[in-house]
């Protein structure tokens, strides 16, 4: 059986985001968003809280944001993590 090293969840449609996760030592979060200047910190905070709620301490997380609200970011991260199988 081949273990997954990366997984994605979400779409590039507006109000959504595409989340990519990869196995990595420590936590690295990268955000690409048209509203990064205004909401980048909030997205980062939501991402960190979601990882914490899942007890994830080793992950690379990339969020391509298309104007997603917090509930969508949370859901997409959770799905991507489950798909990664960590």
């Amino acid at each position: 059986m081949r273990l997954k090293t990366a997984a994605t969840a979400g779409t590039y449609e507006s109000n959504d985001c595409m989340v990519t996760v990869k196995k990595m030592e420590g936590i690295t979060i990268e955000i690409d968003s048209v509203v990064k200047e205004q909401f980048g910190e909030q997205i980062h905070k939501v991402a960190l809280e979601t990882l914490s709620s899942l007890n994830i301490s080793n992950i690379y997380l990339y969020i391509k944001d298309k104007g997603a609200l917090d509930y969508t970011i949370i859901a997409r991260i959770k799905t991507a993590i489950k798909r990664l199988g960590v």
């Binding site: 449609e13 959504d16 509930y71 859901a75 959770k78």
Partner: protein, 275 residues
């Protein structure tokens, strides 16, 4: 009584977060045909997160499940009703058991209802038994799947589903629950939608599923009693009051005898006009 039920694909954040601006009586969050097989997991996670963040009021929240195990993930006190695809008596009994267990587990303070989706030839023939199952408070005709089973094309006149519509209506009305008509699939043809509703309503349907927000206003408008119906119903009820006061058993309005079914219908019209 419901009039309009709007289907929303459960994996579509842009539509989910705007549901409260639509004026549908009910929203059906769709985990079945509206979501690709490979995205069911994402749709369930999104729906759970959505309900944790948005507390919708004044709208019935219905989930059309893909499979019964979906409930293990999505169940919460925010859900009012489950729509069961390809419902039959045995799957409804199973769902009833499952919901009883989950209501207990989640300590819900309300009972989850069921809308049975009637979309196979067998379920059309068993519509009354289906309508009698616990928790079922509506039958929804699914004409697209049914047409596939029957090997017929859907038409604007709907002649191919006339028998199915009647079976759903008679079964629903026999036990006093909602008869919900199949969606009209051409979202750009509002005149076709109007004709379709008028025909379904004339047969006895009291509600219709919508697949686009632009259908809601027409559905709500046409399933509401007309002004003439309301005025006539008020006339009947006023005449009944006067007849009761005079101790008359039978009375007439506009030269026509009024009996219990007509009075019941007048009460129903007045109640529906208030909703």
């Amino acid at each position: 009584m419901r009039k309009s039920l709007l289907f929303i694909p459960a994996n579509h954040p842009g539509m989910l977060q705007n549901v409260d601006i639509f004026e549908a009586d009910s929203v059906i969050f769709d985990l079945e045909d509206g979501v690709a097989l490979t995205e069911k997991d994402a749709a369930k996670d999104l729906l759970v997160s959505f309900f944790q963040h948005f507390h919708l009021k004044d709208v019935e929240k219905i989930i059309r499940i893909h499979e019964i195990h979906d409930l293990d993930i999505i169940m919460s006190h925010h859900i009012d009703t489950i729509c069961l695809p390809k419902a039959d008596v045995s799957s409804l009994k199973l769902l009833d058991k499952k919901l009883s267990a989950l209501e207990k587990k989640h300590k819900l303070d309300h009972q989850i209802n069921i809308i049975a989706l009637i979309e196979t030839p067998e379920s059309i023939l068993n519509a009354l038994e289906i309508a009698k199952q616990p928790r079922v408070n509506g039958l929804l005709l699914g004409a697209e799947d049914l047409a596939t089973y029957l090997g017929v094309k859907r038409t604007l006149s709907g002649i191919e589903i006339e028998f199915a519509r009647n079976m759903v209506i008679y079964a629903a009305k026999a036990v006093g629950i909602d008869a919900i008509d199949t969606p009209f699939t051409d979202t750009t043809d509002l005149s076709g939608l109007t004709k379709d509703i008028e025909h379904a309503k004339a047969l006895g349907m009291n509600a219709k599923a919508c697949i686009h927000p632009n259908q809601i206003e027409t559905v709500n408008h046409l399933f509401k009693p007309s002004k003439e119906d309301i005025l006539y119903a008020q006339k009947i009820l006023l005449a009944k009051q006067q007849a009761d006061a005079q101790g008359l058993g039978a009375f007439s309005v506009d030269g026509k005898m009024v009996d219990k079914p007509i009075i019941d219908r007048a009460i129903h019209i007045i109640n529906a006009s208030k909703e």
